[in-house]
């Protein structure tokens, strides 16, 4: 989900570029009675308004996820109408809670089973980095080692409003995606159906320890000298 303006700055303008308007201009024109649209815009508008999450709870955060689906916070107002029990019918995987090393293969398999275009939200500290349990021997230090994560929600657990906020962040990201034209950056169309190898236990740890396609160990801080005092 990169900024499309960066990827398509060349002089070769495609159809979708020529009507690439920001929301303010678009609403301004709509007031004047002009409706300008592109296929991409229409497609993304429809997609971002109907993101159906998978009913998949792992730990504490799952309860807050259920709360956000409850009548008080009502995630259906954002188009995430129902939580689907089957990955085949879901667009969004909310990894809600601690992913242990025993559970990581199943999470990856569920991601593989989802149809494109699919999105992942890492909800809560545990799913992002292992969180408070990251020192444990059995806890995966972040689900983004195996599957690409689109939005991270910090918090332990995040409030239901934070879940709604993350959904809005995701929708903004979806609206930025390009399907047609030269600058297409929708992974669903660029890379085809994304399926990643399911890790397995070998000896004492998961094998592979991370998926190099989606995650690399971060670089050392450039301005960090040896004594730790930049």
């Amino acid at each position: 989900m990169e900024d499309p303006s960066k990827s398509t700055t060349s002089e070769a303008h495609t159809l979708s570029d020529s009507v690439d308007l920001d929301d303010a201009t678009r609403s301004e024109m709509e007031k004047a009675g002009v409706i300008v649209s592109s296929v991409d815009w229409l497609y993304n508008w429809a997609r971002s308004g109907s993101v159906w999450p998978l009913q998949f709870g792992l730990a504490c955060c799952a309860i807050e996820m259920i709360c956000s689906a409850g009548s008080r916070y009502d995630i259906a107002r954002f188009g995430s109408e129902v939580f689907r029990p089957s990955p085949r019918q879901a667009d969004l995987l909310i990894v809600s809670g601690t992913v242990t090393k025993k559970m990581a293969p199943q999470v990856v398999r569920i991601f593989n089973q989802m149809p494109e275009p699919k999105y992942v939200i890492a909800m809560g500290a545990c799913a992002i980095s292992g969180g408070p349990f990251k020192q444990g021997y059995n806890v995966l230090k972040g689900i983004d080692r195996y599957i690409p994560v689109d939005v991270y929600i910090p918090g332990c657990p995040p409030r239901p409003e934070a879940v709604l906020h993350s959904l809005m962040t995701l929708q903004k990201g979806i609206r930025r995606q390009r399907t047609l034209g030269k600058g297409s950056n929708n992974p669903a169309y660029v890379e085809g159906n994304r399926e990643y190898p399911v890790p397995s236990f070998s000896g004492k740890d998961l094998d592979p320890p991370y998926n190099p396609e989606v995650w690399q160990p971060p670089e050392k801080r450039p301005n960090m000298p040896e004594d730790g005092c930049p």
Binding site: R72, Q106, F133, G136
Partner: protein, 392 residues
């Protein structure tokens, strides 16, 4: 896993639990079907797997597989100061962080013989009973959700839970992970106006319960699906170490609030609801009745809440003398205990949780044998497990 071969009462298709052999009939041949339910299954209350062997639809063998949420809670706690483990106990049974806090604080207080001020004890009782309401109401919601009543009863339950969570958030700062209790008292006093609001919520709760009972208790589908399903005999329950509402549903009168009378529970008159048959319906009803008793306790505790300090003479550095201690309370799911061994340093030498969910889960196979696979889901729902506590 099986404690003893159980006889399933009341249900017609009685199947020998063990030593099952294929039925040979003329022209007919059946095979045992092995089904793995979970770890991603909508009705397993988290990441829990049941390996079920089925003859047709009848369960002939059931093996619970857990550990999908093993988060090294005990090991981490042994690597940390005593206070540092307090927020981690919230994440054990994430529905009832207040009672988890209390059990751990109780164990710590026992270790150094700490007096807890009167007001703190009353606030603890209030918080624990509110937690019981939250837990039971969510259990009932999920339970009927497992039965197929998708949505409505669960949403009603969530609505009531939100009201209580608002109270928790107001008092402690967080909706779920309260981290409210400390060795020797509470972290902060109740805010101004909290008690009035709490009274409002508690007073409105019986009306909701009436409505909820009208919605569910007489429903024929629920009666048929739960009565005489998963009967737990009192002998087996005692032998397996079952505690909490599940034990009382089997007709055993054992409630730590009465037996142990920790805190100030001996000052509150309340009844202990018990079941007769020990089936899923009894377990469901015992919880509903317990909520009514909790409201009684809450009302009395709020009336008698004294003024005063909320923190005892707790030492600045919590360094208990060498020794071991077991502190237990009646959590909403059963006896929640913390077993701490100290070697005199600031970190526990051994830290062990006695999780009610895990112990209650051990009889799952005995309850499910001979029933249909759809009933296994119902029985699991009535056991009331939270995987954070089962696996820790």
């Amino acid at each position: 896993m099986t404690m003893e071969s159980s006889v399933v009462a009341g249900s017609e298709p009685t199947v020998e639990p063990r030593g099952f052999e294929l039925i040979e009939r003329e022209g007919l041949e059946t095979n045992l079907l092995e089904v793995s339910m979970g770890p991603h299954h909508p009705s397993t209350h988290g990441v829990f797997r049941m390996d079920v062997k089925l003859d047709g639809e009848t369960v002939t063998e059931l093996r619970p597989v857990f550990g999908y949420l093993h988060r090294n809670h005990e090991k981490l706690a042994e690597d940390m100061g005593y206070l540092g483990s307090m927020p981690f106990t919230d994440r054990l049974d994430y529905f009832c962080s207040m009672t988890n806090n209390w059990a751990y604080a109780l164990a710590g207080e026992k270790m150094i013989d700490l007096e807890v001020p009167e007001r703190a004890e009353y606030v603890r009782v209030i918080m624990a009973e509110l937690t019981r309401l939250v837990n039971h109401i969510m259990l009932v919601g999920f339970f009927v959700n497992d039965l197929g009543a998708l949505g409505t009863p669960l949403l009603y339950a969530l609505r009531e839970r939100e009201k209580i969570l608002d109270l928790f958030e107001w008092a402690s700062g967080a909706r779920m992970m309260c981290n409210y209790m400390r060795f020797g008292g509470l972290r902060n006093d109740l805010p101004e106006g909290w008690l009035t609001k709490c009274r409002e919520v508690v007073d409105a709760f019986p009306y909701f319960l009436d409505e909820y009972e009208k919605l569910l208790v007489e429903n024929e589908i629920i009666l048929v699906r739960t009565q005489n399903v998963g009967v737990l005999k009192p002998e087996l329950a005692i032998n397996a170490g079952i505690t909490g509402p599940m034990l009382r549903a089997s007709g055993v009168n054992y409630d730590l609030r009465k037996v142990d009378a920790y805190g100030v529970y001996d000052r509150f008159p309340f009844r202990v609801p018990m079941g007769e048959v020990g089936d899923c319906y009894d377990r469901f009803m015992v919880r509903i009745l317990e909520m009514r008793e909790s409201i009684k306790i809450l009302r009395q505790a709020m009336d008698e809440l004294p003024e005063g300090p909320i923190m005892g003479e707790a030492p600045r550095v919590f360094k208990p003398p060498a020794g071991e201690i077991y502190g237990r309370i009646e959590g909403p799911k059963g006896e929640l205990g913390f077993y701490l061994v100290s070697d005199g340093t600031a970190k526990p030498y051994r830290y062990r949780v006695r999780p009610p969910s895990l112990v209650n889960l051990t009889v799952l196979e005995d309850l499910c044998l001979g029933h249909k696979v759809a009933d296994a889901v119902v029985i699991l729902g009535s056991v009331d497990i939270v995987l954070g506590e089962v696996d820790r």
